[in-house]
């Protein structure tokens, strides 16, 4: 079992955070989507955090180079 942060978005979707890191002054989460029982689905994403007026938002990051870097960092973390 991994103890990590779980975020719930305003549309009630849940994501388990596998990696929380800064890259080029932006905060990124490598996440796995969780079902209603908080068990991982086969859906991994990289989310970019946006802070606006003390509220935290996320948007999916699709830049291939950022994705690649996050994957690389996660592999190193696993090893």
């Amino acid at each position: 079992m991994i103890e990590n942060d779980i975020i719930t978005l305003e549309d009630d979707s849940n994501y388990g955070i596998l990696l929380d890191t800064k890259l080029d002054d932006n905060n990124y989460f490598l996440v796995v989507e969780l079902d209603d029982n908080e068990q991982p689905k086969n859906n991994f994403k990289v989310l970019k955090e946006i802070i606006e007026e003390n509220d935290s938002y996320v948007i999916e990051e699709t830049d291939a180079l950022v994705l690649n870097k996050l994957l690389d960092m996660y592999r190193k973390k696993l090893n």
């Binding site: 990590n4 305003e10 549309d11 859906n43 180079l65 994957l71």
Partner: protein
């Protein structure tokens, strides 16, 4: 023969028949009949003369003076012709009047098609029966030609739109088994783009970027339902997190069990998505329309090279193949020889390495390099280690590395030396020098088979081009192969 002229031809036959009747012997009748036959002959002659001139105006590549002269002659020919024949030629001229093709939007072509069809329909309604059954009218018709052109434009636009939707659905699936279909669609899209005016391509670009986000989301959702094995999103959140930011409601500590296999599958799926995204880049609508092709290709190679370090061997091979294909395109566009050095893992374009080439290319390439550099310090160490290392699942020993380095340099030197002849059908080659190198590489056991095949293939191509050339044998003198 159409009904207009047929009427006169048949009348002439009847009159000629009358002349041979025994009881048709009144002098005055005979004279009138012969006069009428002569008149009909003139009508028929003029009819075919005008038809030939009109056809020449529509089909031959005439100067404006020649066209003007023929039109004057037609006007003279029409004098004294019966009204039905004149009406026929007026309609003929209207159907065949030259139309000016404009470059317009999809709506313009759509409306223009309807306008032309209405015009043809109106002419048909006013024409004598069977008039437009005549093949020469249809063949000559510039309206028909413009209609065919517009039909082709609109069909290509619709097909392109459909194919772009398809390729996006496949990219969302993130499934490596879709690779062949992705390549096929990419090629079709590339070909169809060349057929459309730029204005329509821009419109298509806007369609996918701005106006139909909802439609695209719906397509993705449908696709996900029929592809449960896909590694892509299965249950899309209510908000499209790819396009709009979504607020984090809560963040808490939690525990979840994540099988190692799932991590591998998930991470690999993302890696495939990254590969697919970059593979599609060279043929995607937006990049190919707006960017300098060479710069885009060079920067894509750099992106791919950067990715190579962190994807699985299978995808490293995919990336390498993609870069080989892109390098071939750069070679075609620039006439420069491209070569991959397996020992150093660096691509060369002409006399410089890829990074230098891209750096000298236009802004897009520079931007890509800066982006890579900000994320990875190893951006210029392209494909370090080379694809064969991981492809074969073995490490090269020092002797192999040394050999591959030496021979790769020799091959590159030769290719660079003869690069100015790459566009010719043959190369004035020192055949035996190249052939000896070919044999050395072929018989060398300290070169991996992958690199060996690559090098031999390049030399083979060069040798093949020398087949029809005069070559020089230093030992035996000049001879013709």
């Amino acid at each position: 023969m159409n009904s207009v002229i047929k009427k006169y031809v048949e009348e002439k036959k009847e009159l000629e028949h009358l002349l041979y009747q025994d009881d048709f012997n009144f002098n005055s009748d005979i004279a009138d009949t012969k006069k009428r036959i002569q008149d009909i002959d003139k009508i028929i002659d003029k009819y075919y003369s005008i038809l030939a001139k009109q056809s020449s105006i529509n089909n031959d590549n005439l100067t404006s003076e020649q066209i003007s002269k023929l039109k004057d002659e037609i006007a003279v020919d029409k004098i004294g012709l019966p009204e039905d024949i004149i009406n026929y030629f007026n309609l003929y001229a209207e159907v065949n009047s030259p139309t000016v093709r404009q470059v317009g939007s999809y709506d313009y072509y759509f409306d223009r098609r309807r306008e032309l069809k209405d015009k043809v329909s109106k002419i048909y309604q006013n024409a004598p029966i069977s008039l437009y059954g005549r093949s020469e009218v249809k063949v000559d018709s510039s309206i028909k030609r413009e209609l065919d052109y517009i039909d082709d434009i609109l069909a290509t636009y619709d097909k392109l739109k459909d194919n772009i939707s398809k390729i996006r659905r496949l990219q969302n699936r993130k499934d490596i088994s879709d690779r062949d279909e992705l390549i096929r669609l990419s090629n079709e899209i590339k070909n169809d783009k060349n057929k459309l005016p730029l204005k329509l391509l821009r419109e298509l670009e806007d369609y996918f970027i701005n106006d139909h986000i909802d439609r695209k989301v719906k397509i993705q959702t449908d696709e996900e339902k029929v592809a449960p094995v896909s590694l892509a999103v299965i249950d899309r959140p209510k908000k499209d997190i790819r396009r709009e930011k979504v607020k984090i409601k809560t963040r808490k500590k939690g525990k979840f069990r994540i099988p190692k296999g799932l991590i591998i599958a998930g991470v690999s799926a993302m890696a495939i998505a990254v590969v697919m995204a970059l593979e599609a880049l060279s043929s995607s609508v937006s990049s190919a329309i707006s960017a300098n092709d060479i710069s885009t290709l060079a920067s894509t190679m750099i992106d791919n090279a950067n990715l190579w370090h962190s994807v699985d061997p299978t995808y490293q091979e995919v990336l390498h193949n993609v870069n080989t294909e892109i390098a071939s395109n750069i070679s075609n566009l620039t006439g420069q020889t491209t070569a991959f050095d397996g020992a150093s893992g660096i691509w060369h374009i002409g006399d410089v390495d890829l990074a230098t080439f891209a750096n000298n290319a236009q802004e897009i390439a520079k931007g890509a390099i800066n982006k890579v550099a900000s994320i990875s310090a190893s951006a210029v160490l392209l494909f370090a280690g080379g694809i064969p290392v991981l492809k074969k699942g073995i490490k090269l020993n020092n002797e192999q590395k040394k050999n591959e380095g030496i021979y790769t340099k020799k091959v590159n030197d030769i290719l660079n030396y003869y690069k100015n002849y790459t566009t010719l059908d043959f190369v004035p080659l020192d055949y035996f020098h190249v052939k000896n190198l070919y044999n050395e590489i072929k018989n060398n056991k300290n070169i991996s088979s992958y690199e060996k095949d690559e090098m031999l293939s390049k030399l083979d191509n060069l040798l093949h081009k020398s087949a029809s050339a005069i070559t020089f044998d230093f030992n035996g003198g000049g001879k013709v192969r």
